[in-house]
Point group: C2
Chain length 233, copies 2
Amino acid sequence: MTDIKIAIIGGTGPQGKGLALRFALQGVAVVLGSREAGRAQEIADELNSQLDLCTGMNGFSQITGMDNDAAVNAASEVVILAVPYSGHDATLAAISPLLTNKILVDIVVPLAQGNPKAVDMPKEGSATEAAQALLGDDICVVGALHNVSAHTLNAIEKPINCDILVCGNDLAAKKKVIELIKLLGVEAYNVGPAYSARCVEAITPMLIRLNISKAVPFSHAGIKIWSPTNADK
Amino acid sequence: MTDIKIAIIGGTGPQGKGLALRFALQGVAVVLGSREAGRAQEIADELNSQLDLCTGMNGFSQITGMDNDAAVNAASEVVILAVPYSGHDATLAAISPLLTNKILVDIVVPLAQGNPKAVDMPKEGSATEAAQALLGDDICVVGALHNVSAHTLNAIEKPINCDILVCGNDLAAKKKVIELIKLLGVEAYNVGPAYSARCVEAITPMLIRLNISKAVPFSHAGIKIWSPTNADK
């Protein structure tokens, strides 16, 4: 899969940067998209330098930066939407005409304004469903990567040991996204149609609540699927 | 906590039986409630015999059976509702007058009719919220134990290694329920108010989907909270 190039729209935020680092480390070319191309290229340079340092290689250049439109156009197929929820619909509407034959991976969680321990879901039920409604049925939307913290993604010296729940209405698109995510060394599971995002997105504020809680002795929580026949791996 | 006695309404079903076995093994007295007292006592006798066999002790008699009303009255504080969703509201309405000063633990998942891979949430948003609305604010409702399979609960020769998510509007009630659940040797986490049940209950059909899926090599899945600072325990 070394010929693939993914775009991360809103890629200059903490979630986007972490994903860019992780994918680049696996040999996947990444284009960061931002409203300002200069800003995107600046962050891309920073991340490439970080990868040089981390890998001991010189001239790591898997990551480039462009404005959002150019980033979408540069993507071979998968475009990851990683903007804050406040920019979710407007960003999608802007890039929508460019998404033909692409897969939109929506990782956005509609956290409530001023209360990251709750969601404030759009009328469609979830951000993923809102994206699918906005883009129309011809463009496949896949919800994924909602429950892995930016901290975990950016701590590239450690493996990601939480699982990724993937949902969406198109099975082929989900399979491609699951295959892509598994490159990061994590388990990724198909948990159903786009409406499963009502649950998947809402897991994030519960994790944030646990991270904040003094009653719980950990932070940067994620989730794992456990099974007695899965040997607690 | 050996002076506590819990009631399990709908305790003759697979989830209720598993919980009865697990709590009884920890020295907690359990009263199974059923519409028919005779049926409840019959199941209680079976479970006590199973515990005799399993523990090598004779005369294990932690579990008794009664009709639902008597079971609620016999409970020291905690009443677990473990009926199928189709009986959720009617059962609650029937026992409602007896629940003063008790804590109602709602473990019911509103699975869609004919499709256990989806939920069909009541208008209140979740079964837990529906229970709280039905019982009124004077009775504390706590949602818990939705995501642990009956198989796992009944496999008493093995520890339960998944986590339990607990939600509800009353913190003191949640703390009591978390303490009770932790007797079973599991982690139990406060994941917020009753509205968190919209997410917690909806996790179950996603797990059922994974259990059914041929793409996933396991069954009886549950979930775990994972954290990089939690050492993957």
